[in-house]
Amino acid sequence: MDDWLPASGRTRGRTAAADRTAAGAAWMCAVIVTLAFGWIAADLLWHGLSRLTPGFLFEMPQLSGRAGGLASIIVSTLAILAICLAAAVPIGLGAAILLAEYSRSDRRLGRFVRRSLDVLAGVPSIVFGLFGNAFFCVYLGMGFSLLAGGLTLACMVLPLLIRSLEQGLREVPDDWRNAAAALGMSKAATLRSILLPAALPGLVVGLVLGMGRALAETAALLFTSGYVMRMPGSVMDSGRALSIHIFDLSMNVPGGTGNAYGAAVVLLLMLLTVNLLALAIARRWQLTQPGPL
């Protein structure tokens, strides 16, 4: 496609002055954003990278986290993430299939689900935390536990997850659906052996995006999975997620800043890995997609 950009021609007088001022302002904004990014990245990497030793990852935290490593924190984080995905993926996939494949027969249900998800996507995470506390911890009696935290996160990532899973399914060309239908294949068989495999890379991208959102979250976990730093023994134990660890070290533990830097860099590297993974999959997928005819 042609990319039309306005000319940067020489002009006279007022117009020229305005044109130059605007260009300067736009460059200035870009420079400010870049500097802010550089500042944050440099500060975190400068103080944090030196802490990244194998010991930091595999040792238990000591002295409220001031010393030692992140072993139990990382285990709790991964457990919460696993619970979150185990709960969100089946429901999300089911809802996404319904939205993408049954949009004609289930129009009203689809519209209701879509609207409700749109609203849900904008709800502040602290509200999810309140809800999770009231529903999972108190009403369902789970107390402060990895399970309650994971399920709360599942509620939170559901809108994003469903939207990207649905997107993945919609990318599958209609020709294949028509071909399968013309062959008299059942919808279940079509989904299992044609649509889901074809959409798999897109689905994985959706999954990875959901993971990223869950990893980054803090506020929803504050009073659902709790603060306990011990190595969790079961999903009913309270456990401290990495993001909460950063918060606690920097706010409540004098002298915790050093390890907080380390934990922040670990968290960012986890997120970066997850995002690069999504990018790589998406790119790979575009290459294998049949182009428009």
Binding site: C29, G110, S116, L120, P124, I126, A134, L191, A219, L271
Partner: protein
């Protein structure tokens, strides 16, 4: 063997159940928020949230005082400040990305903005606490302040607004830009009079979603704002926002105190979802107008 028809019917039922669950989740959330708030609203009375002397919540309504105005004010001030700072910067950055960036620079710059958008709020809060707050302390005051909150929130919503504004600018039909070029209009006139008005809907959506994100943000403001319940009399004064208040007190709140926190959560949720819904409505109607 089970007939394919049976399998399909079972599948559809399962799909409907999961979709239904996803759809009903919002209602469940609203129900629980309302139920938890209800006790508080009944015992404390909705009206006491404003005229009470201060915020000294107790387990039973009669002993405590529940004025949330200072926290509402802090939330509004921090949000407004962040939006006012971030909007021009973000639109400038989006314009740079679309119209001014040399080809080799546009890609990396977009990358940077996307990375900024992906940084977790607790990391923004941490950076604010260890870097920004000490800097602000040299201006006087404790450093943890409304200003620190505004600056961190600005940083957080800047990438959101930039990316949405950029998407809106990219979707301006090339024909408009072509027509402007053929009429010999300068770059800035083209942007100001053609591109920005045509992208108005998307820009507005970006700003409102940024506002929602700022108002609902917890961790970053909790870490840099100082969390003292008071009406801010200067930018350097510490304040406590509604979200920070919930995060701070929820761990030990009981009875009516707990209910009061749910009330503030409910208020926050209604505020933010109201914004989101207004945008959706506006988007739909401006879309209708645009396409005749």
């Amino acid at each position: 063997m089970i007939s394919p028809q049976r399998v399909d019917a079972t599948l559809l039922a399962a799909l409907r159940i999961s979709a239904g669950l996803a759809g009903v989740l919002l209602l469940i959330i609203i129900f629980f928020m309302a139920a938890e708030s209800w006790a508080g609203l009944r015992d404390i009375g909705a009206l006491r949230f404003v005229p009470d002397a201060s915020w000294h919540p107790e387990q039973t309504a009669a002993n405590g005082s529940f004025r949330i105005t200072a926290m509402v004010a802090a939330t509004l001030a921090a949000t407004a400040g962040a939006v006012v700072l971030a909007t021009p910067l973000a639109i400038g950055a989006a314009l740079f990305l679309r119209f001014y960036a040399p080809p080799g620079l546009a890609g990396p710059f977009k990358r940077i903005v996307e990375l900024l958008a992906g940084v977790p709020s607790v990391v923004y809060g941490f950076w604010g606490l260890v870097v920004l707050v000490p800097l602000l302390a040299t201006l006087g005051g404790p450093g943890q302040s409304l200003l620190a909150g505004i600056l961190i929130l600005t940083l957080m919503i800047l990438p959101t607004i930039t990316l949405l504004a950029h998407a809106a600018l990219v979707s301006v039909p090339p024909a408009y830009l072509q027509a402007a070029a053929a009429l010999g209009m300068s770059r800035w006139t083209t942007i100001r009079s053609v591109a920005l008005p045509a992208a108005r809907g998307g820009l507005f959506t970006g700003i409102v979603l940024g506002t929602g994100r700022a108002a609902g943000e917890t961790m970053a403001v909790l870490m840099v704002c100082g969390n003292i319940v008071q009406l801010p009399d200067s930018l350097l004064a510490p304040v406590r926002t509604l979200t920070a208040n919930i995060a701070l007190e929820m761990a030990y709140a009981l009875g009516d105190h707990r209910a009061a926190l749910f009330v503030s959560g409910l208020v926050l949720m209604l505020l933010v979802t109201g914004l989101v819904l207004a945008v959706a409505r506006l988007d739909a109607s401006s879309g209708r107008f645009r396409h005749g």
